[in-house]
Assembly symmetry: C2
Homo-oligomer: 462 residues x 2
């Protein structure tokens, strides 16, 4: 057999993921060339500083500070963009593509914002962009969508796609910690950034949902039109009530296809214990995909971290090195530069079941008032959970400012306020929002109500 | 854009899976051509009878009784082999490959027995064999191994890969049914064949393990050297004791890589409730794969049935139609015709934890005898479960002939026999087998002991 052509890789950005990728390409160099039958090798690592790269033992002779160097090397066929953000990263990707180099990236923000433009640029230059590492870390979920499930019309997709949030929520559910305590624990374990906003706000999950849904539906997704709620306002009281009702709270990225369009959202959601996603704990991620002929499939693994993410990056690198991905990229028509915008349902039309917690004065006739408002908005009640006044103290105390305000009001008025938890049958979100706005105006209502989606097992169509 | 070249598909064998595949290719014809950017179409269905095909509404003009017809049609580029078995199926595959047609198959027995030969034949003829549908129905686990996880050294693989067995075991665990009752229920639901031997004996799972492990380790697997135990001898008593200890019983196909070689086996095994595989219920399948850099990943979905399996088949068809899989097939060196035989550990050297149930006379000093034998064989006890004599009657009654024999012996001797359940720390199977042989010889032992693997969460190396 002829010796395969050298296929040089330049890694740009040597942080956690870049460093792990460089290490993987170096430590497994011989085996990777053997199993892939290619001449794949790490040609260089481009960054402004190399302390981290040095600490990982990466060959110092590969360090470069200017991307022009690898782009001048005809053996470098592929650039791995791992600088993050959307400005410098976009410049790097565009430079590499324009120079006829394939690009592999883990950058979900870059793709969610500039996917269509970069894909078109790649196509004009006869090269490709791959992005397995952009969603779900090392889980091969991207190729499951563009390849393994391609024969399906995708009906729905539910993802736990942010490991930081899942770690925090798992601690809240399993140990009864408050959000603030669980966040602190995650930060001490290195599982949350000092500034956790991108993760806990749900924005990172929205970037990933935009990418996953664009492949699942073969349509372009407008990131700005995805409703996003984070986990940072979640109260332990609701976590505890949810458990009592048989639900676990997860930050879910949800996409569903109905006759009138696609619904998309990122939200803390209750999911039943009989759903496999309920068991995805700690920093793990998972994505459930429902296809019209395959039914329910799920993909599970570590959603972040250097070594798992490097697994996805190198998988992409090899698919290009063997020449397979070029055909997929050229032939399929589901890529962001080739697709039409999706028809997205307005939030009011999203259908779901709901968990509602209203805090009301504990006196006769109050429940009738609530039930009347819900009935007027055509919301049908599935279950009610109301404790004896003394009993609800056993639930972990709520821990936010509004709750302290409530307590003051209780003290001064000498009337006990109690939480009433109501779960609804399937209804649309417009009805629920209008009903809650009305309930919050009732004089018996002592603090703003809480509303959480309940995600039932999606019904398989097979 | 130029109109893509026609890419005709011939389906040979129109049973459950063949019929579903023909239907999928027909009902989704326009969409599949559009998303794949290819001219893929169903050219014909070859079989000896067409009652089933007709009942599914497949276009009668496509029915053929002779495979020579599609092979004479230059537009037919790919043959889907779905006749099953290993004799006619092998002829069909060989004929198609020799005629320069790609082959897609769901036939695990064919591949486990004749994989190397058929792959070599494909290579000589410049065509490919794909087999996503051979393991795990619609779950894209095969491409996860040859593509998504290719950067990893695979440390271990645990699979629930037979839906019939998982359905039966789920019924035994959740409803306390006996094996015979659960099998009957599965047969009435169409989830078990009238002759369930291939499934319940574990042989079908062994075929799949041979395929999965060959890709995971890039080595050839000798099917005949995989130790196989089925679920047909499993007693409800052990299912119940396992639950009490926090385990669920699953028929697991297990592959592990150690410094001295690879261990392979198919067996009813106990798995802890904290492992995601424990929650895979009913007819669903799942495969956990542990890679050296990705850590634990899991793939879940329907492991059988026409529509899910057709999803995998059409994914393979499209990967060939777009021209991607040809590169993967040509370049990678992990295929059965290119790999060396695996170095397989003898059963005695397999390391695991074990659940042992011995049935002994209820009198002083008996436990000391058991403990002495185990100690002599360097087996360290992790936990012991022994009930008061009256209490063990609460456990579901064992339901096999040997148990009735035991009861008779109890009655006549006036000595109560009690089950003693012992779980061990990690040890090797040789030690356990030798110890149990000795224990079964003890005069206090009233019936043969039972031994079940306990599968702990594989420790991630990342």
């Amino acid at each position: 057999m002829a010796k395969p052509e050298p296929f040089g890789i330049a890694i740009v950005g040597c942080g956690t993921v870049g460093g792990a990728t460089a290490r993987l390409l170096q430590s497994e160099a011989a085996r990777l060339r053997e199993v892939s039958g290619t001449g794949v090798y790490l040609a260089c690592v481009v960054d402004v500083a190399f302390d981290h790269a040095r600490s990982l033992g990466i060959d110092e002779s590969l360090f470069r500070t200017d991307m022009a160097e690898p782009l001048a090397d005809p053996e470098v066929k592929l650039v791995v963009e791992l600088v993050g953000g959307t400005t410098v990263a976009k410049e790097i990707a565009a430079k590499a593509l324009s120079a006829g180099r394939h690009v592999v990236t883990a950058n979900k923000a870059l793709l969610a914002h500039h996917g269509a433009e970069l894909f078109a640029l790649a196509r004009r230059n006869g090269v490709t962009i791959s992005f397995e590492a952009s969603c779900g870390g090392g889980i091969p979920i991207i190729r499951a969508l563009y390849e393994g499930l391609l024969a399906n019309r995708i009906d729905a997709l539910y993802g736990i796609v942010n490991g930081t949030c899942n770690y925090i929520l798992t601690a809240m559910v399993q140990s009864g910690r408050t959000y603030a305590e669980a966040l602190g624990q995650a930060q001490r374990s290195g599982l949350a950034e000092a500034d956790p906003a991108l993760d806990v706000s749900g924005l990172d999950s929205a970037h990933k949902l935009a990418i996953l849904a664009s492949l699942a539906f073969g349509r372009r997704i407008d990131l700005d039109r995805i409703p996003v709620e984070g986990i940072d306002t979640l109260e332990t009281l609701d976590v505890a009530f949810g458990r009592e009702l048989g639900y676990v709270v997860k930050l879910l990225a949800v996409a569903g296809r109905g006759p009138d369009g696609v619904s998309l959202r990122v939200r803390p959601s209750f999911i039943g214990l009989d759903h496999p996603l309920a068991w995805v704990s700690g920093p793990f991620n998972a994505v459930s995909v429902y296809g019209h002929t395959v039914g329910h499939t799920m993909y599970y693994g570590r959603g972040a971290g250097g070594p798992p993410t490097s697994s996805a990056i190198v998988a992409d690198v090899i698919a290009v090195a063997v020449g397979a991905y070029q055909h997929t990229f050229r032939s399929l028509t589901i890529w962001p530069d080739l697709t039409e915008p999706v028809r997205q349902l307005p939030m009011e039309q999203i259908e779901s079941r709901y968990y509602l917690r209203v805090t009301v004065e504990d006196k006769p006739g109050v429940f009738a008032q609530l039930a009347t408002v819900l009935g007027n908005h055509r919301i049908s009640i599935s279950s009610v959970l109301q404790r004896e006044p003394s009993e609800h103290i056993d639930a972990p105390a709520a821990d936010d400012a509004s709750d302290r305000a409530t307590k003051t009001r209780e003290d001064s008025s000498q009337v006990t306020a109690v939480p009433v938890v109501i779960t609804t049958h399937r209804t649309n979100e417009g009805n629920v929002r209008r009903a809650l706005a009305e309930i919050d105006e009732l004089t018996v209502c002592t603090r703003p109500s809480v509303c959480i989606n309940i995600i039932d097992e999606h019904e398989e169509t097979i």
